[in-house]
């Protein structure tokens, strides 16, 4: 770690900041006081090994947030989240969205264990959940949540009995099936070696029969338990009249098992129990890996709940505020809102006014001001002001609920798509059955007594082991390669769609841009009075008091050696004034500042950045003009240029206003952009592109992107976007950077190539072997050997996806947090 980055969050330390904290007796530089506080807390608790053990950080932010966790101690609210047993032991599952690496789990574990009353802390990093058990008299859920929040995580309790239980049941039975296939399979293979050896060196019939019967016994649990999902899948897909890969797999298993069973009963002939065992084991393994990847990223159950607070402040009939559970709200209730609250319902303002950040819902990057009678939306955040609102819609009838319905519908529409290997499978089954029937017919005419053994050998040689393994092994390999390159693969579809000529639709706010305001440019009017650094420092001091969304832009310029003489005065919708070193400064709208600074002709802006203009001045005159806007990610320009060179069509679709979108589009050189898009507009844009028979990939982060992401052929979400967007995405960009998209395109084309090769190999092997078998040329040992060799070839071909990637053509990447990827 260089000294230019913050010891705690690894963000670049802004110029002029000199904050030092002593961690383990070594002074370390910090980028802000929040980081200093967090790292001092960690150090004071004796937990500073965290810094040695953590993986590279996903999102740069580990700052404690204000949150009202005491609400969770109210009985009616805690009842929803806490299960208490007869001994007074409470259990609660807590979802932590930022839980990506083992060091995080260790940290949380250490923060909680050792405190009175905590019985145990269990973690599941895959589903980003921890399970805490405590004694009901010793502490409360709210205190535990607050404790987790002190180290900078955002804990959200999960309602028990949700899809989490189903997920856990699935996971446990998959691991059981895997082990049954493994241990019984090893026995079957061991006895098979005995039988083969007997073939060559001679063996008493009674002993050979013993081995056959024992092999049959150990194969029964494999067929009856481990392979059950394949049979169920086959029956299901046949009922749906869309036979997938499960059909030939089941057919092969049943044929091989019946043939072996027949030979066991006849006490003569070959048995294939070992082949069955190996086939089932490999399939169980690849399905297990696939399921784990899917569970890792599927936050759908949590997506909506996390967006809304569990408790809200309602005004009762006497006008007194009281804390109640969100679920107990009725549409006519009156709610109190203040700065920092997430609005839980759709409603209208009854009194007061608010500045609301609606970017997650609409894509609009600037906060909007809502006055009396105006609408506010569930899921948006209050940036400034306080108000009382009348709830109009709650739960599923809010616009947020509407959006989640749109997502479900889009996902349902899309589930009708078939994968390449599924299409292959249905053709394959028909071909093999046809060939077997033909063989039977021909041999019946020529030599009826040889018909049965030959038809059997045809069916066994046709066992689509390699064919069935081709796709899943390649995908497992691609998923591990992607995670090393900073992406999470959830559904394989993304690899299918990402080829030359595909359209990539980007959201703007939070996807192409950082999603938070920054000082994009500054014009200093009077350098002799105050230089740029001083102007920014003064601005930071004043804005720190304002709570305005734009104020965050100045945070990083907070000076260490300057303070306000007295608290700053905030004038709503105008600006902030404060006294520093005996001089009054004002920052804000032009008119507010010129009131003390006097008017003067302003030079033209030095850059064409589009954004909010903020002025700084004092009695000596205007000092500076800052343009604050949501800046483009540092790697966006180069990544988009590379994608365009690679032959992708690029489009921007944003809910933001035309000027802002145009600014970003021209900066990135994208001609095709759409502004003021509602989620419905974006949907119809994607549908139109799809009608032009183009493959559409959507990259987004907000709630308003989620339905579109579900409707597109494939989609990518940003890890620190909303959970709803992640849940409808096919892959997730883990770091705070777009660069992994380039690796994704390379890995996608590599994976497609490998799958195609493996499918062609497996199909031609089966074709040749089947034709030889139908002529009666294939001895059973040859069939078994060929089957294994062909599967091995396919598996090793899949491993080729893990070769190092060619370095994407990128101009020098800057070293801020933006370009770092994460290894989860």
């Amino acid at each position: 770690m260089t000294t230019d980055t913050c010891f705690h969050c690894e963000d670049a330390i802004p110029a002029g900041i000199n904050i030092v904290a002593t961690i383990g007796e070594t002074p370390q530089r910090m980028c802000c006081h929040g980081c200093r506080a967090a790292s001092e807390f960690i150090a004071a608790a004796g937990l500073d090994q965290f810094y040695q053990h953590r993986a590279p950080i996903a999102d740069a932010v580990l700052r404690p947030e204000q949150h009202n966790y005491a609400a969770f101690d109210k009985t009616d609210i805690s009842r929803q989240f806490v299960a208490t047993d007869d001994n007074g032991i409470c259990e609660s599952t807590i979802y932590i969205g930022d839980l990506y690496c083992p060091a995080c789990i260790w940290l949380i574990d250490q923060v909680l264990t050792g405190y009175e009353g905590i019985e145990s802390v269990g973690a599941n990093p895959a589903s980003r959940r921890i399970i805490v058990r405590w004694h009901k008299d010793a502490t409360t859920l709210g205190a535990i949540l607050a404790q987790i929040a002190t180290v900078g995580f955002k804990p959200e309790p999960v309602t028990p009995g949700s899809s989490l239980d189903a997920e856990r049941t699935d996971y446990r039975s998959a691991i059981k099936r895997l082990v049954v296939a493994g241990v019984f399979g090893m026995q079957a293979m061991m006895f098979a070696i005995g039988l083969y050896a007997g073939e060559f060196y001679g063996m008493e019939d009674s002993q050979a029969q013993l081995l056959r019967v024992v092999s049959l016994i150990v194969t029964l649990p494999i067929m009856g338990f481990a392979a059950l999902p394949f049979f169920r899948g086959a029956i299901f897909s046949l009922k749906q009249k869309r036979p997938g890969m499960d059909v030939p797999v089941s057919l092969a298993l049943i044929i091989a098992f019946s043939a072996s069973l027949m030979h066991t009963v006849q006490q003569a002939g070959d048995v294939y129990y070992d082949s069955i065992a190996m086939f089932v084991l490999l399939l169980c393994l690849s399905r297990f890996l696939e399921m784990r990847a899917r569970h890792n990223a599927d936050d759908r159950a949590q997506a909506l709940a996390v967006m809304l607070p569990a408790a809200v402040t309602r005004l009762n009939s006497d006008g007194e505020p009281e804390l109640v559970a969100l679920s107990s709200l009725a549409p006519s209730d009156r709610l109190q809102l203040q700065r920092g609250d997430v609005i839980a319902v759709d409603g209208r303002i009854y009194s007061g006014h608010l500045s609301v950040d609606e970017s997650m819902m609409t894509g609009e990057s600037d906060p909007v001001v809502r006055g009396v009678g105006e609408r506010v939306l569930a899921g948006t955040t209050v940036m400034q002001g306080d108000a009382i609102i009348d709830a109009a819609a709650t739960g599923a009838s809010t616009q947020l609920g509407e959006i989640s319905r749109l997502i479900e519908k889009a996902q349902h529409d899309r589930s009708h798509m078939q994968t390449l290997s599924d299409r292959f499978a249905s053709v394959f089954v028909l071909a093999v059955l046809g060939l077997a029937a033909l063989t039977a017919l021909v041999w019946w005419q020529m030599a009826p007594e040889r018909t049965l053994p030959i038809v059997l050998s045809v069916l066994i040689v046709a066992c689509p082991c390699a064919l069935a393994l081709a796709t899943p092994t390649a995908l497992a390999s691609a998923a591990s390669m992607l995670s090393r390159n900073g992406m999470l693969l959830i559904r394989a579809r993304i690899l299918d769609c990402l080829h030359v000529g595909s359209v990539i639709v980007f959201d703007k706010t939070g996807t192409l841009t950082r999603g938070k305001p920054e000082v994009a440019s500054s014009d200093i009017f009077d350098r002799t009075r105050a230089d740029k650094q001083q102007c920014l420092a003064i601005a930071a001091l004043l804005e720190a008091e304002s709570g305005h969304v734009l104020a965050n832009a100045f945070d990083r310029f907070m000076p260490a050696d300057m303070t306000l003489d007295e608290p700053a005065v905030v004038t709503l919708a105008a600006g902030v004034s404060g006294v520093i070193g005996g001089t009054e400064y004002r920052i804000g709208k032009l008119a507010f500042v010129t009131a003390i600074a006097g008017d003067r002709p302003l030079p033209a802006p030095s850059s064409d950045m589009v954004g909010s203009e903020v002025f700084l001045g004092c009695a000596d005159g205007l000092l500076a003009r800052f343009v604050v806007c949501d800046t483009v990610r540092s790697d966006a320009t180069s990544v988009l240029a590379s994608l365009r060179n690679a032959g992708f069509e690029l489009v921007i679709a944003s809910g933001d206003n035309n000027a802002a979108v145009q600014g970003v589009a021209s900066q990135l050189g994208i001609a095709d952009y759409h502004s003021d898009q509602t989620p419905q507009d974006k949907l119809s844009l994607v549908r139109r592109l799809k009608r032009e028979s183009k493959r559409v990939i959507m990259v987004g982060d907000g709630v308003n992107d989620a339905p579109v992401m579900a409707a597109a052929d494939a989609s990518v979400a940003i890890a620190n976007g909303t959970a709803l967007a992640r849940s409808s995405a096919d892959s997730v960009l883990l770091g705070n950077s777009l660069t992994p998209l380039l690796s994704l395109t390379q890995i996608a084309s590599r994976t497609r190539r490998v799958i195609r090769q493996s499918l062609i190999w497996a199909a031609s092997y089966n074709l040749i072997a089947v034709s030889f078998a139908s002529l009666g040329w294939v001895a059973p040992w040859m069939a078994a050997l060929g089957m294994s060799a062909s599967s091995l070839l396919v598996v090793s071909n899949a491993l080729r996806i893990n070769r190092p990637l060619a370095k994407p053509q990128l101009p020098a990447i800057d070293t801020t947090s933006e370009s770092r990827s994460v290894y989860a």
């Binding site: 608790a45 004796g46 937990l47 090994q49 053990h53 083992p102 060091a103 789990i105 260790w106 250490q110 264990t113 050792g114 405190y115 009175e116 009353g117 269990g122 973690a123 599941n124 990093p125 895959a126 010793a138 502490t139 205190a143 535990i144 607050a146 404790q147 856990r168 996971y171 446990r172 691991i175 059981k176 082990v179 049954v180 241990v183 019984f184 026995q187 008493e204 002993q207 013993l210 024992v214 016994i217 150990v218 649990p221």
Partner: protein, 57 residues
């Protein structure tokens, strides 16, 4: 080789016991987290964190 008639059934019995034990462990949640326990070997105890009976502040 008549010993096979004893050893193979014995092997099968051991196998059944193992699988039963494994199923129990799975039901008990011992395989729910396959990632963080691997790290705990490295992380634990190289410096004991302050353990007190302090309540949450």
């Amino acid at each position: 080789m008549t010993i096979l008639y004893l050893l193979i059934p014995l092997g099968l019995i051991l196998l059944t016991i193992f699988v039963a034990a494994f199923f129990w462990a799975t039901r008990n949640g011992q395989f729910d987290d396959l990632e963080s326990p691997a790290m705990s070997v490295v992380l634990d105890d190289d410096k004991a964190p302050r353990k007190t009976n302090r309540r949450f502040s």
